[in-house]
Symmetry: C2
Subunit: 214 residues, 2 copies
DNA sequence: TTCCAAAGTGAAGGATTCTTCAGATATGCT
DNA sequence: AGCATATCTGAAGAATCCTTCACTTTGGAA
């Protein structure tokens, strides 16, 4: 837990129901402002205004702007990690090709479900503790994928953690490209097929009966 | 050219030699501040101070802070694009396996040459026109790689642009992971081998004599 | 050596943003 | 109804930061 972690944690937990609503509204507003005005202009006042409340309410739950943004980011990253973990669970024991397509489909669904929100959060993940949260998500996903790979009946991975980390980040790259709008025309149309092909090919290089690949 | 592009361009070009030095010093200082203090605290005054000059000098060449950061980022992205283009040129006509390792090695060399600088610039690439610059670099690289793939003797790519975009961003993902320090222990040691394996497998899925793979 | 343009200086105005806190309201229990 | 507590409000102080510009210094051509 880094030194700044303490100052990034929520200030107090909602007790009554209306405060839970307030926090939820705050999160939604933060994302909306992030999308419409960008990270720089995602100010504490603007978020409160968008949420239809006063700044004071915001500071009742978060000690500062970054804590709010961190909370929003964490929620998103947790959703992603949950989705991948679930996919890993469902794919247990299946052959490589199935793992690849299942993972890609699951990942794309959760990431492309709210494209604008996903895009807006990339910026948040850059600074102020976003790295720690991203690392945490990474760790969860790598752990789940490692276990999955180890259970594959038709392959043997000498370093499942390494393979998982490379595999997942290799999927994340193109998705980021798409979300950020830096991709060529028609990128989205074939993305899923291409990622499945990519992951399948990578994983199958570890197929039994194909040598260690080295 | 977006609306803000004009305000992000340098203000005036260096004429005398000492001004060229000033600009170079400014760039170096910006990167140092970026590394040591982070994007938020990479302020116009701090950069000038680090560069050993007054703020006024900075504003002589850049209309605002973002223009300076954009210039620094652009230089880095151009270097990356140059490196990949050069690699593509040198690999012309070679078999798939050679292309894969050549591209990976070239990309890693330029990106990992100055790890701290590369890392610091990720944040800059997020906001203020960084996307446009990244897109430009992407376009250059995809163009070069597409031509290279089309020239491969042992494969037939039905959509070289798509394949190149996926391939490059798939390499960029793990590299970002490493640079951001969110990777598992020992990640760096095997990264090159793993990326070569990844890219080779992906490209070879288009090998002649292996079907179109759809 | 003389002189003009290039380059550099840095204090200060203008504009935001963050965050606090004393007071006003709302809620739910007795 | 009455009370204790949970929430909410929003003006204002404190802290930065951005950017300008009138002035000084340096470079080099005539």
């Amino acid at each position: 837990m880094s030194a700044i972690a303490a100052t990034l944690k929520p200030r107090k937990a909602p007790i009554q129901e209306r405060s839970a609503t307030t926090v939820a509204t705050l999160h939604a507003a933060a994302i909306q402002v992030l999308i419409k005005d960008g990270l720089d202009r995602c100010t504490t006042t603007r978020v409160a205004e968008r949420a239809g409340m006063s700044v004071g309410s915001l500071y009742q739950y978060y000690p500062n702007r970054d804590a709010l943004l961190a909370a929003v980011l964490e929620k998103h990253l947790d959703a992603v990690a949950d989705a991948v973990e679930r996919a890993c669970h469902d794919l247990e024991g299946m052959p490589l090709a199935s793992l690849a397509s299942g993972l890609v489909i699951g990942f794309l669904r959760v990431k492309l479900g709210d494209p604008e929100g996903s895009k807006a959060l990339y910026g948040v993940a850059e600074g102020r503790g976003g790295g720690d949260l991203a690392a945490k998500m990474q760790a969860r996903i790598v752990a789940a994928m490692s276990a999955l790979l180890a259970s594959a009946p038709d392959a043997r991975f000498d370093d499942p953690v390494m393979t998982s980390a490379v595999a997942f980040s290799a999927l994340a790259g193109p998705v980021r490209l798409l979300l950020k709008g830096e991709a060529p025309a028609g990128f989205q149309d074939d993305l899923q097929d291409q990622l499945i092909r990519l992951l399948t090919a990578y994983l199958q290089s570890y197929s039994v009966g194909r040598g260690t690949g080295r």
